[in-house]
């Protein structure tokens, strides 16, 4: 049965339940803070457990642990931990701090970790649902804010639709192949000519359901509204860990059981990728709210990451994994900066509100500058290397058009990132922001340092990504 392989998830679930009980029973004033700290501890524990694991197949083929899943899990835990640190002060200032917040985050992370280790279509679905349900609640957490409720509702309804499509696809796959296990599916799909089209249609529906989660065009419509309406730490969480988990799952599904069919599906993935890059670049130009801007930016970034999947080689997978790491840290730093945007106790979200930050708060402005340049892909910041590895993989298999479109949309996209910098430094300064909490500064500086100095010592991450990609492709 090999259930020890799920130690990290089991530990997290148990910790989650314990923290829940603790939060309910101890009605002290700062139980939210205490629960957040306990949750951070739980994340750390889970990370240690992930690192100390061997590999293998568990729970009768439902669960797999390999370098690929470990890589993803560590990244998910990192993103969640950083979002959690950000949320402690934010929730308190906005007046909705409750101890259930870290608990829900914890359960969502559990779902994501199950997704990362899925080796059966049902496990995939269950992990997805666990993650999504917690996210619905988190999106609507600020229940006195109409926009937050709207975000949660929209996410829920559209996600339900996507889950429905996903489930329909799973049922088609099961119907046309007789199994839901990835290894057995791979055997069933081994001969591309003998595969019935029903299986491929099922895969397409599965792809649709997963594309929704990574907000790829045309299944991205929820992203701007939900990112804008949800509280900022939740948005950060949205932009990092679920994307990592869903992308990893997409990689595993497309390359593992359906790897032989990838050439047939390649054109679809290419189409989605191009559409994401183009829309992410163009639509962001007209945005005035910075969280919406980041939503479109994340759509674009996922488009770039999909190029690596479209390439389908080890270098492609490695490129996607590197992209995810760099993307997570860039996003964390940017949202830490966005989290500092408060004036007179009220949150402000317009890009024009950043005017004059260069003079009012040079440190924060500098971090935001680094993030913006990195998001745009300017060398030598980490964002450039992320794109480099992706385009390298695409060019190596001869997908020149895709790489060229990627570069062109990068150019168009650079506009709105640099516009933010221009607003910060060249516009008339407004009143300075409120004092930012130490936790926010810590997160911003840490992520900013990673973004800046990635190029100095990239080897560990690239090596780990290479190992993970090899484990996936076998």
């Amino acid at each position: 049965m090999n259930w020890q392989l799920a130690w990290p998830e089991i530990a997290l679930a148990v910790c989650g339940m314990a923290i829940l009980i603790f939060g309910v029973l101890w009605k002290g004033r700062s139980n939210a803070f205490a629960c957040s700290m306990l949750t951070a501890g739980a994340f750390l524990l889970a990370a240690l457990l992930v690192l100390s694991q061997g590999g293998g197949l568990g729970y009768n083929g439902l669960f797999v642990v390999d370098p690929f899943s470990s890589y993803l899990k560590l990244l998910i835990l990192a993103g969640a931990a950083l979002s959690l640190i950000l949320s402690v002060d934010w929730n308190e200032r906005e007046g909705f701090q409750r101890f259930e917040f870290p608990v829900l985050m914890l359960f969502s992370v559990t779902g994501m970790m199950v997704m990362a280790s899925a080796s059966n279509l049902m496990t995939l679905y269950m992990g997805l649902e666990l993650q999504s349900l917690a996210l619905y609640v988190l999106a609507a957490f600020n229940r006195d804010d109409a926009r937050s409720s709207e975000a949660g509702l929209k996410y829920f309804v559209l996600s339900a639709l996507a889950s429905g499509l996903l489930l329909y696809g799973i049922s088609l796959c099961y119907g046309f192949s007789g199994t839901m296990n990835f290894a057995d599916l791979a055997k069933a799909a081994a001969n591309p000519a003998g595969v019935s089209p029903g299986l491929i249609v099922g895969i397409v529906f599965v792809l649709v359901g997963l594309a929704f989660k990574i907000s790829a065009v045309p299944f991205h419509m929820w992203t701007p509204d939900v990112y804008e309406g949800a509280p900022t730490p939740v948005t950060l969480f949205f932009a990092t860990s679920p994307k990592v988990a869903a992308m990893g799952l997409l990689l595993r599904v497309m390359v593992g059981p359906f790897g032989h069919l990838l050439p047939q599906l390649q054109s679809l993935i290419v189409l989605i990728s191009i559409a994401s890059m183009v829309l992410g670049a163009l639509a962001a130009i007209g945005q005035t709210n910075i969280k919406r801007l980041m939503a479109y930016s994340s759509i674009g970034h996922m488009g770039y990451a999909l190029i690596g999947l479209a390439a389908g080689t080890t270098e492609g997978i490695r490129g996607v994994l590197i992209y995810l790491v760099i993307y997570v840290f860039m996003t964390v730093a940017t949202f830490a900066g966005i989290g500092a945007m408060r004036r007179n106790g009220r949150t402000i979200e317009k890009i024009s509100d950043l005017a004059g930050l260069g003079r009012n708060d040079p440190m924060l402005a500098l971090i935001l500058v680094i993030c913006m340049f990195s998001l745009a892909g300017i060398p030598l910041l980490s964002g450039f290397f992320a794109k480099l590895y992706i385009f390298l993989a695409a060019v190596q298999v001869g997908m020149w058009t895709l790489a060229v479109i990627g570069v062109l949309t990068s150019v168009i996209g650079a506009f709105y990132y640099i516009r933010v910098i221009k607003v910060m430094y060249f516009d008339q300064p407004e009143a300075p922001f409120d004092r930012r909490p130490a936790s926010l500064s810590f997160v911003a500086v840490a992520a900013g340092l990673f973004t800046t100095f990635f190029f100095v010592f990239p080897a560990p991450i690239i090596g780990a990504a290479q190992v993970a990609a090899k484990a996936l492709l076998g």
Binding site: K154, L158, I200, V201, V204, F219, M221, L271, A283
Partner: protein, 643 residues
């Protein structure tokens, strides 16, 4: 050593006056530059005297290594042969006199005066570098340096738009000649493998018959080189075609006109011909071309000079014409005569210009001769100087011009070639016209009733000694230079004097033939000159109605002469307007619309698309779900198609 001092003192003077002039003040700047110039003049004249009568050592003075690039070598060095030493002596002497003259002339100028003196010394240094060059590259450095100084000095009064335009015109027209010059240098390198004079002159015999393919035909390389170098000389020496800058250059202060556009810079072209005499001597067609151009210029400039009303312009066209004479002499391989006339011409032309400056100074800045007249009693010294200069220019015995000009005409007749004869007849007619317009100038300026107004006539005064002193020295030179130096330059002593600085082919016996010409050939220039003087007196002094009548009757000829043979108008139509048209179109259409439009257009496209794309996000869940379903249908449809 002395030679090096002669060449570099002006540079030191230029640097001190130019860089420190603002802090040390105008007086000190003047003193410094004049001091260094006097030093240079002493050294230069001494070197010349030593070379002429005392058999000096002719050692090239090496200075510094400059270009060492594979087979291309060029070093800074000061060549010490007769040609160089003669030029150095002449240039330093005249330049010093003009420096001193400028003290008086620029005394009431609005601008700080250190700039002027710094530029004058800069020019002198560049000219000296040119004439002492031991390789074509250093010569070209000097060539460009004098061009630069000319530009700076013509446009000295930089707030006058006409001055700035004249400076630019000079620069551009010279540039056209320089293009040919540079190609010529390249061709020299191509043919000889070196641009250093010792190497070139040593290999003259070897490459005689080298051929060079141009426009499909094979020409002799020496011919091509000769023509190219001459075109460069045409630009610098204002020969017909590339002469349009010289009259306009009169916008500069008069000392500048005297120094640069009479005595020294414009003679650089003639100097080049003489310096490259080894090559030119073996290029008969090129020489013929030189002679024809020179002759035409001599005649054509003289006709224009007859109709001009600005005193400086008359003298400018006179310079142009005299340069034509020098090129006629070079064209018949009588380089010695050419340099001799250059030498004497420097003195009397500088004298004429500085005297004109004195006149202008006297009539409070008026330059139009129609507003002068009746001055000879008021400024007798200047009047006398004008007579001396004009007599020398007209070639009247025993003034300097008589010897050198007659030598040229005799040589051209004696050459026996067709181009030589053409040069002779042009020169003869030119001599007649030269005398005519020179005395026209004198009469119009000094004689007759005063045509200036009352106030001006009251202020007419002789120039101070600092201005008249140089005039007197130049007048002495204009008088005696002819018969003092005749023997060495063109007479029996010429081989010992020139000592191989000028090379002529073995079958060139022009100088000998000059002694054995028919009698009338020797007298013809004098007759022509006296006739011109007489006619001028007749037309302007005794029967003043003749000029207007002539102008009425022969109106086309008059207009042709008055409007400078319409060269400026022709060039404007052929070159200037099309260039401006092209530039305007390249700017407005090519750059602003096309090249700028591409990125601007793309940015507009991106922004426009963005505006449309943003509208997709309507906020309605139903629409979102619908888009997702459409996406599913599209993907399925795509798969169906791709399958």
């Amino acid at each position: 050593m002395m030679y090096a001092i002669a060449v570099f003192s002006p540079l030191v003077g230029c640097l001190i006056a130019g860089l420190l002039g603002r802090s040390i003040g105008g007086r000190a700047a003047q003193g410094v530059t004049i001091g260094f110039m006097i030093l240079a003049a002493i050294c230069g004249v001494t070197a010349f005297v030593e070379n002429t009568w005392y058999d000096a050592e002719q050692e090239t003075v090496p200075l510094l290594s400059w270009v060492v690039s594979s087979t291309l070598h060029a070093d800074w060095a000061l060549r010490h042969d007769t040609l160089s030493v003669t030029m150095v002596g002449m240039v330093t002497f005249i330049a010093t006199l003009i420096h001193i003259y400028s003290v008086g002339y620029m005394a009431h100028d609005a601008y700080p005066v250190y700039r002027f003196f710094s530029y004058l010394s800069l020019f002198t240094f560049a000219m000296l570098m040119l004439v002492t060059a031991d390789n074509l590259l250093q010569l070209f450095f000097g060539w460009e340096g004098v061009g630069l100084a000319s530009y700076l000095l013509i446009g000295y009064w930089y707030d006058k738009p006409s001055a700035c335009a004249a400076a630019i015109k000079a620069m551009i027209v010279n540039r056209i000649g320089d293009l040919a010059f540079v190609v010529g240098i390249a061709l020299v390198f191509f043919t000889f493998g070196s641009i250093e004079f010792p190497a070139i002159f040593g290999a003259i015999e070897q490459h005689q018959n080298d051929l060079y393919g141009l426009f499909g035909t094979n020409f002799r390389a020496y011919e091509v080189i000769g023509v190219l170098l001459f075109i460069g000389a045409m630009g610098k020496s204002a020969q017909i075609g590339l002469h349009t800058w010289l009259p306009d250059a009169m916008e500069g202060p008069t000392p500048v006109s005297a120094l640069i556009h009479a005595a020294t810079m414009v003679t650089a072209g003639v100097f080049l011909m003489a310096r490259m005499s080894p090559i030119m001597s073996y290029a008969p067609y090129a020489l013929a071309f030189v002679a024809v151009i020179g002759g035409t210029t001599a005649f054509f400039a003289a006709t224009i000079g007859c109709a001009q009303t600005d005193i400086k312009r008359v003298i400018a066209y006179s310079t142009c014409s005299q340069l034509g004479y020098m090129f006629v002499a070079a064209g018949v391989a009588a380089y010695q005569a050419s340099i001799f006339h250059l030498f004497t011409h420097a003195f009397f032309k500088a004298l004429l210009f500085l005297s004109a400056g004195s006149v202008i100074h006297a009539v409070s800045g008026e330059q139009d001769m129609r507003k002068m007249g009746g001055l000879w009693r008021h400024i007798p010294l200047t009047y006398t100087m004008f007579w001396v200069g004009s007599l020398a220019l007209g070639g009247v015995f025993p003034f300097a011009g008589y010897y050198s000009k007659d030598a040229i005409l005799e040589a051209s007749y004696a050459s026996g070639t067709l181009s030589g004869m053409y040069g002779f007849w042009c020169g003869l007619l030119g001599a007649f016209l030269t005398a005519f317009y020179s005395w026209r100038l004198i009469i119009m300026t000094f004689h007759g009733k005063p045509r200036a107004d009352h106030h001006v006539m009251e202020h007419v005064h002789e120039s101070p000694f600092v201005m008249t002193g140089p005039l007197i020295l130049l007048a002495i030179g204009a008088t005696v230079n002819g018969f003092v130096f005749r023997r060495e330059f063109i007479g029996e002593g010429w081989p010992e004097f020139w000592r191989g600085a000028i090379v002529i082919t073995a079958n060139n016996h022009v100088l000998e033939n000059m002694e054995h010409l028919p009698g009338w050939v020797g007298l013809a220039p004098t007759v022509a000159g006296l006739t011109g003087i007489a006619l001028a007196y007749l037309a302007y002094m005794f029967v003043p109605s003749i000029p207007p009548a002539f102008a009425r009757v022969f109106r086309p000829i008059y207009l042709l002469a008055y409007n400078k043979w319409y060269f400026d108008e022709l060039y404007d139509f052929l070159f200037v307007r099309p260039t401006f048209w092209l530039a305007r179109n390249l700017w407005q259409i090519g750059d602003a619309t096309l090249i700028d439009g591409a990125p601007n257009g793309m940015a507009e496209i991106a922004a426009g698309s963005s505006r449309q794309v943003v509208k997709i996000q309507t906020g309605s869940i139903a629409v979102y779900a619908f888009v997702m379903l459409i996406g599913v249908v599209l993907l399925l449809g795509l798969y169906m198609l791709v399958r």
